[in-house]
Amino acid sequence: MKELFRRAPKAFTPGEQTPDQQTPDNMWVKCPSCGELTYVKQLRDNLKVCRCGNHMRLSAVEWTGLFDSDTFVEHDGNITPLDPLNFVSPKDNYAQKLRESQHSTGLYDAMIGGEASLMGQPLQVTITEFEFIGGSMGSVFGEKIARAAERAYELRVPLLTINASGGARMHEGVISLMQLPKVNLALARLGSVGMPHIAVMTDPCYGGVLASYASVADIIIAEPGARIGFAGRRVIEQTIRQKLPANFQSAEFLLEHGMIDMIVPRNEMRLTLARLLRLYTTRDTSAAPIAADV
């Protein structure tokens, strides 16, 4: 691995955000589920949940609005991926793919990590960016969760992971695979001091993310309709040569099969997380009640 670090780093600088990438507020967005058109502004006010109930995917930056205003502070925002395999194929070039994704998302990789507070309660957080090569889990992704878990361990605060990922980053090969134990080792250490890891699974959560930290979180929350699984639907259909039921691998299917703790709609996420955090971190019975307490 030292060899890889010594290799001259390629400079990947994310592109400047150009004005035409910003969606004007007067544009319509079509719901991929029901087909209905909604104003962008109206949709944003509704946390990008369509009237039909479809939870559209949020960017990592959009999710940071979950926390108390201006409390999210990014850590490790300067870590960038390398191309350890020198991955070039006739159809695919990792270095170029990284540059394109960095340009379109403004991020160096598919993950942001940092600290925040949620209704006054401090925590460490990681949020995936699905638009960056399908939120895939490579070296930077793994490193950022490991560091967030280690900070949570040092500070004795909970860890919240918000996830949307297609699985391991193929272009970093077995190095991506080895991020699974790297992350779980850090989580085991966090667990040893009695601090919880809460995972929020949004659409979709597959492969490496599920087979490492997300499915062994102390508390697993899914958004309604999120698709969650180890093997992809297409792979299973090819293997068994028959169509799978429509609700297979949905959050509702997983709840029924005992794989997750609860399904929480987006507009209740903030309050739900705050109440859970209080149960695990506040031992003082006289602590102030949380607004809109049930």
Binding site: W63, P81, P90, V140, P181, A211, T239
Partner: protein, 283 residues
Amino acid sequence: MKTALTAWDKVQISRNVQRPRTLDYVRILCDDFFEFHGDRRYADDAAIVAGVGRIMGRSVMIVGHQKGRDTRENMKRNFGMPKPDGYRKALRLFHHAEKFALPVICLIDTPGADPSMESESRGQGNAIAENILVMAQLRTPLVSFVIGEGGSGGALAIGVTDRIFMLEHSIYSVAAPEASAAILWRDSSKAADAAKTMRITAQDLHEMGIVDAIVPEPEGGAHLDPENTVRKVGDLIMNSLEELSAIPTQTLLDQRYQKYRVIGAFDTLTTNQHGNGEPLVFP
């Protein structure tokens, strides 16, 4: 003199039907062995064999993937692709090993975890994740040896260990070459290209610092001299376990943490990223 083999040649050798499998290792290395069955929850998965045996006078826990040699055996063993029940059997026996201070030997030889509706419904992802989490903290030495195919999470679920070794013509990958080609290029017939591009050979992994040592095979592959190959593997495992057993448990766990903690290829810049868009306002 050996001729240079391509990555795809090695994939073929690693899958050779006569290649020594876990039960061959048990037969050649153990002077006593009992196979233990079942996960105590649902089933006994024949894609993973596990049990306690004695090698060179020492009691050990052996857990390994088991492929078949003919169609009937492959049906029974699901081509070495474990279901959650198999991983949970392994998990049970990892705890068992810790309880009785037995060192653990994991023999890896799987195309990957079973992809089926049944396995998904019983939590394939969770079964693998749980094993990774428990192996990370297990208070007994663990050694893994890739004796054939190291297929993705299906391999890693019995592969988080203090030492990782590979046979010369074995492979270890984030996804099987066919699956890699399908995921990357939507064309599983490009498996040979994927095998080369993804750097999955024992030599690749050794160069990346992930694998601790490689055991050479006879020219043409281990199946041409199973007895000798298996004995060489056994020697390395037992030497390694002797060394690991001398390390105090907490030091062993700290070293295991560091072993995986340093894996990753990234650079640190002086400027931070600035993601596009605005935070939403959550109620």
